[in-house]
């Protein structure tokens, strides 16, 4: 089985307009963080200039989530130094997560439909709205022709995009994959339905216990995943390696600990020493179930909840944390403070586990480990 590594990262969000500034923000003390007020239910991206990656001509045809995604994917590609000539584009894929679609573009067009008729609508509505629009635009922008997919599975979509992209590389269906997720919350319609859902769900029962209210944030994060041997051959800088991916389902509360245990077992085999586990943070019962599962396996694990710092980023959730963790692992080790201001988990970690859940019972887990400097 081929080993998969991360050779590029890119991101944009309310905390910063690239991975460096997001990590600089999250490395600083809590009082220095420019993050929006924790009391605000919505954290938008402000003052972002996309012109480096998206032309004015293209901007008229696409939604904001695609703009954010093209920028984050472009940053990851630049960071990887994959182009020009670093790869056969038939062997380069695109795996994307998106839940909310392109309502910033579509909402005014639907108003137009109801007030002035179908002939007044933009011809780009169909190609701007759907979640796979970002995959298509990345393909057009970079001439990518390899194995590609889009996931639209709420808060686990981004982590699934990474995990299944890694599987595609491991199975020799691609040599590298641009993978990540993007969400835009600027449409009034999306704000209403997500906030209504958020408050309706606060305290509502789920497979993982009562749901918790968290601020919502928009943005995008992308990784360049690559076959280890391919990366070494072209002299790429490797951030870290993927140690495993597991995607399972707990049909009821009784099976939650068992399924989390199975997932953890699948992603931690190759990590030595203590691991930092980034919880999903949206459900009351997650932390205790995960502690039990880790204890059953005898795993030395520190726990953090990144939601108070990063917000609920829907499909981007998990990918943003993976981008920040990859950057840290490239330089050595990860601290809990990067993901949680008041982290109880002390020390440094040579491996990171990211866990994401869906209300209905999905459990998606990704493991990241540093590259041994001796290897």
């Amino acid at each position: 089985m081929r080993q998969v590594v991360i050779t590029g990262v890119g991101a944009i969000g309310p905390l910063g307009h690239d991975v460096e500034s997001i990590c600089a923000t999250t490395e600083g003390p809590a009082e220095a963080s420019p993050a929006p007020s924790a009391e605000a239910p919505l954290w938008p991206i402000g003052g972002f200039d996309a012109t480096r990656f998206v032309s004015g001509r293209l901007r008229q045809k696409i939604d904001r989530f695609v703009i954010y995604g093209l920028c984050a994917a472009g940053m990851a590609i630049e960071d990887s130094r994959l182009f020009p000539g670093g790869i056969d584009r038939e062997r380069l894929g695109i795996f994307v997560g998106n839940c909310l679609g392109g309502w910033w573009f579509t909402e005014p067009e639907l108003r137009m439909l109801h007030t002035r008729g179908v002939r007044a609508m933009s011809p780009y509505v169909a190609t701007a709205w759907f979640p796979a629009a970002l995959q298509g635009q990345i393909s057009l922008a970079h001439g990518v022709k390899g194995h590609s997919k889009t996931f639209s599975t709420f808060g686990v979509a981004g982590l699934q995009a990474i995990g299944y992209a890694a599987q595609a590389i491991a199975a020799d269906r691609a040599d590298a994959v641009i993978c990540g997720a993007a969400e835009d919350l600027s449409s009034a319609y999306i704000r209403v339905i997500t906030l209504q859902d958020l408050f309706r769900r606060d305290g509502a029962p789920s497979t993982f216990g009562a749901a918790r209210t968290r601020p919502q944030a928009e943005g995008a994060a992308f990784l360049l995943l690559e076959d280890y041997e391919h990366a070494v051959r072209r002299g790429a800088d490797i951030h870290c390696r993927l140690t495993g991916f597991a995607d399972s389902f707990a049909p009821d509360e009784d099976r939650v600990v068992e399924r989390i245990r199975q997932n953890l077992s699948a992603v931690t085999e190759e990590i030595e020493g203590p691991r930092l586990l980034i919880l999903d943070g949206l459900f009351e019962g997650e932390a205790s179930a995960t502690r039990r599962a880790a204890s059953d396996l005898g795993l030395p694990v520190g726990f953090v909840d990144s939601k108070p710092k990063f917000g609920n980023m829907f499909a981007v959730s998990g990918v943003m944390e993976a981008a920040c963790a990859a950057r840290s692992l490239r330089r050595g080790r990860v601290t809990a403070k990067r993901f949680e201001d008041v982290a109880t988990a002390a020390g440094e970690y040579g491996g990171v586990i990211i866990q994401r859940l869906s209300r209905t019972g999905s459990i998606v887990t990704l493991g990241l480990g540093r590259i041994d400097p001796e290897s």
Binding site: S55, G56, R57, Q60, K61, R119, A120, M121, S122, P123, Y124
Partner: protein, 88 residues
Amino acid sequence: MRDQVNDVIRKILSESIDIPEDEIRMDADLAAEYGMDSTELTALEKEIESLFSISASRSRRSASWVTGSDIVDFVLAETAHWAPPDEV
């Protein structure tokens, strides 16, 4: 009137293809020179309909829009029956 319509169409074309107004050649083939595809022309058609309150559907156009000047001619033909404001 022609100069005014020409300026408006030049401005719309400039915004549509993201090229400065003074670099737009109104006699150039829009597809060959600026890479405009049929969907971009459809978007342009809708903007012209909105701005001039005319129907610019393909079935309405007797000649195809190859150049910017073709669009100017079409708009002028469609608005020729308009009475000047002081005659209304």
